[in-house]
């Protein structure tokens, strides 16, 4: 199949693969903007209208974009801004300030960032001068002086809006929303958040100044739409340099999506989460398997990738434990069964382990207490067991109360997969009580 491509294509197959990788990686990893947002046309229109009113007519607005992680909130906003800036008037007029709740962790930092991004007079180079109060007064003064007809509108984008609500007194939010409510310079405040209860976080005075306009991005695609989305995400566009290869690639993607086993796998992913990010991660894992030797995505690749996504990390870690550590975990499991989830300490675990050794009269695992303590501490470092109370300095190590952080089925499953697990240990684990 690949040979035929070399004959007919205008580019060698290696070059084509590189191009495909580049195009798809940009889409999957770099969150490249699509030409037209899919499934959110109504929200797009609403937001575009709203921002246009600010940018062109000088109307002050505030709006919240709410949706779960990976639902395309930032994508929607960026698309709207891109479309908005296509208009001459808006482009000429609009000033933008982008803030992120992760970066601007308090109002002082946020204020500096605002003055910097607005290029106000107290900025030299990119250094901002003055104390917090001066900066705030200066900014408010600058905003107050403006009016609807003459001054340029400012767009404030607050990413991770819920984190701004944790600032002291919510000063920044109060002032921004206050300006948007009174007849001062026209501003639009757009908050982006993943918390549905974000309005409950706001103080009463801040809440009353907010326009309560919310755009919800609770995308709820059907499986058919999801499948279609996978296909469009993987397909290359028309501007691909080698049209023959592009056709072949798109055809192979199409056959991939029609495959029965692939559909099953995607259904599983669809059932676990419908957001784009987890889909992108799956597709990225598939894409990484494409090389010159194997220039198309096969159903087997998707199966492998999905297996990687769905593996249980704790079971993976249990697989790498030594036999002594595994024995201790089984002893803990028995203690949990016996005493109904009461916390335990090293002495009890050791005692339980000793009972097993006595019954089996097997001296193979007869380790000293310090060796067992070392294994126990390794388990603690891996956070498979966690100490109950934090004030652990006062009690001796062997009497510290611990809790097991694994559940029954995980242990049993790991035991089945454990390489060369001794039979007596397996039987001990199976037996109901110690």
């Amino acid at each position: 199949m690949s040979k035929r491509k070399i004959e007919k294509g205008s580019l060698p197959v290696g070059e084509c693969i590189t191009q495909v990788q580049e195009m798809l990686r940009e889409r999957l990893c770099h969150q490249q903007l699509p030409d037209r947002p899919e499934g959110v046309e109504a929200q797009h229109k609403h937001l575009l209208e709203l921002l246009k009113r600010t940018a062109v007519h000088g109307e002050s607005n505030s709006v919240l974009i709410v949706g779960p992680r990976g639902a395309g909130k930032t994508m929607l906003l960026k698309c709207v801004l891109r479309d908005l800036l296509k208009e001459k008037e808006a482009q000429k007029n609009l000033l933008q300030v982008h803030l992120n709740g992760l970066l601007q962790t308090d109002d002082r930092i946020a204020l500096k960032e605002i003055t910097r991004q607005l290029h106000l007079e107290n900025v030299v180079g990119d250094k901002v001068f003055g104390s917090f109060a001066e900066n705030l007064g200066f900014l408010l003064e600058a905003l107050k002086k403006g009016d609807r007809s003459s001054s340029r509108p400012v767009l404030f984008v607050l990413d991770e809006f819920d984190l701004f609500a944790h600032h002291k007194n919510q000063t920044l939010l109060y002032n921004l929303l206050d300006v948007s409510q009174s007849a001062q310079a026209p501003i639009a405040v757009v908050g982006v958040t993943c918390r549905l209860d974000v309005l409950e976080l706001l103080e009463k005075r801040v809440k009353s100044r907010f326009s309560h306009r919310q755009i919800h991005l609770l995308s709820n695609p059907t499986f058919a739409q999801y499948l279609e989305r996978v296909q469009t995400q993987l397909s290359v566009t028309d501007d691909f340099p080698d049209s023959k290869f592009a056709q072949d690639w798109n055809a192979s993607v199409k056959t991939l999506c029609e495959d029965k086993s692939v559909e099953e796998v995607l259904q599983r992913h669809f059932n676990s989460s419908k957001d784009f990010r987890s889909m992108h991660m799956l597709l990225m894992l598939c894409l990484s398997r494409v090389s010159v030797a194997k220039p198309a995505i096969k159903p087997a690749d998707l199966l492998e990738a999905s297996k990687m996504c769905f593996t249980d990390a704790k079971a993976n870690m249990l697989h790498g434990l030594s036999i002594l550590e595994l024995c201790l975990i089984i002893a803990m499991k028995h203690l949990n069964d016996l005493y109904e989830g009461e916390p335990f300490n090293l002495q009890m675990v050791h005692n339980e382990f000793k009972k097993f050794l006595q019954r089996k009269s097997n001296s193979m695992y007869n380790f000293e207490q310090p060796v067992i303590m070392k294994a126990f501490e390794h388990l603690q470092q891996l956070e498979m067991i966690q100490s109950v109370d934090s004030s652990s300095a006062k009690t001796q190590r062997e009497y510290q109360l611990m809790r097991l952080m694994l559940d029954h089925s995980q242990i049993m499953e790991a035991l089945q997969k454990y390489p060369q697990c001794p039979t007596d240990v397996k039987q001990w684990a199976m037996s109901a009580f110690g």
Partner: protein, 443 residues
Amino acid sequence: MSALLQQAGYEEERLQRVSKQLPCREMQAGMLLALLGQPHQYSYPSIFIYGHRASGKSHVMQVLLKELGLPHATVSCVECVSVALLFEQVLLSFFGCDAASLLPRSPSLSDFVRVYRQQRSQSPAKQTRYVVMEKAELLRDTDANLLPALLRLQELVEDNVTVILLSEIVWDKFRPNTGCFEPLLLHFPDYSKGELQQILSQDKHPSYSAELYSSYVNILLGVFYSVCRDLRELRHLAALNFSKFCEPLAEGKVKETETHKLWRNVEPHLKKAMQTVYLREVSSFQWEQMQQTEETGALRGLSAHTHVELPYYSKFLLIAAYLASYNPARTDKRFFVKHHGKIRKTNFLKKNEKTSNHLLGPKPFPLDRLLAIFYSVVDSRVAPTASIFSQISSLVTLQLLTQVSHDDQLDAPKYKCAVSMDFICAISRTVNFEIVKYLYDFL
């Protein structure tokens, strides 16, 4: 073998050099390389690699990045006690010292991103830049915003940058409350016994044959594999004990082919090593010295030195504290009053394992009870002088006793005994007191 390590955009020669340095890890390296893609292409914003200690996480990353000449910053979260150090190191390795000096005195994430963007606009990434964070579990203890911000660093600085987190702990324990950008999870599985053998056999001794060393490794794994799978620990033990293994060969008693005799010679030695060197009771330097002077185990380990010289009454105070901590108060009359009344034996001895204090740990007791037991176990008459009380508080400072609850309580303070059974037995032997007779658990 090197077929797994194939990725367009890199020199063939370099890839071969990489695969030579990564024994038993070609699969993982190949997968990682495929994910990273060609140098100029975008890679996934954040990759989380987890696996057991010494499963080659850092090594694979380092070899890949160094040999392939990719721009990278390696940051150990242990070293970065403040975020400022972290930012400085990242900027330093990407843009040189000038960039790092642009940071203000106590930089916030915002400053870091600002400086990064400014530098990036001057020298945009031609190749993907990698930030490798080792021991990433410590990021959870720092500022709550740091981990989510690092995970979406690519989006924040708008540069072709990938953050790689290495940790021993699974991702589920990292996830913040409000969620974050999910990284790509990659697991480095543990080395199997065969792989361990293969890797350990590589560092053979020059004066002996490779087969001899690999049979030695086999014996070593036979003893230690059930306890320890840490490659570094095993390698350390192998280096320490090899001279003992070769001793009969050097003396000419045994030939190289007689593996069984060599095994018989070295096995008890290795078992001894598990109780001493493996636990760091004896330092490796002492262990090597001991091998030269032919007396393994003659030297007392660290824990044997815990025996402390105490004054006469302090010893009895400690014994009394131990008895008070590990015996239930209702049995005190039976043990310590000379002419106690009739106690029904069946009722007294009724106990089950669950309530054994040697399993549950010491119980707190009030000062009065300690003194009462103390007067009963000391034969002579002792006046309750200030020195007795100060000895109690000095036992607390020695951490042989711990004071429970409030530190400032003058009347009726409560204590707990914090010494082990072996320790108290040794103490009571010096004053000819049979403590086991007085312990309820051993009746």
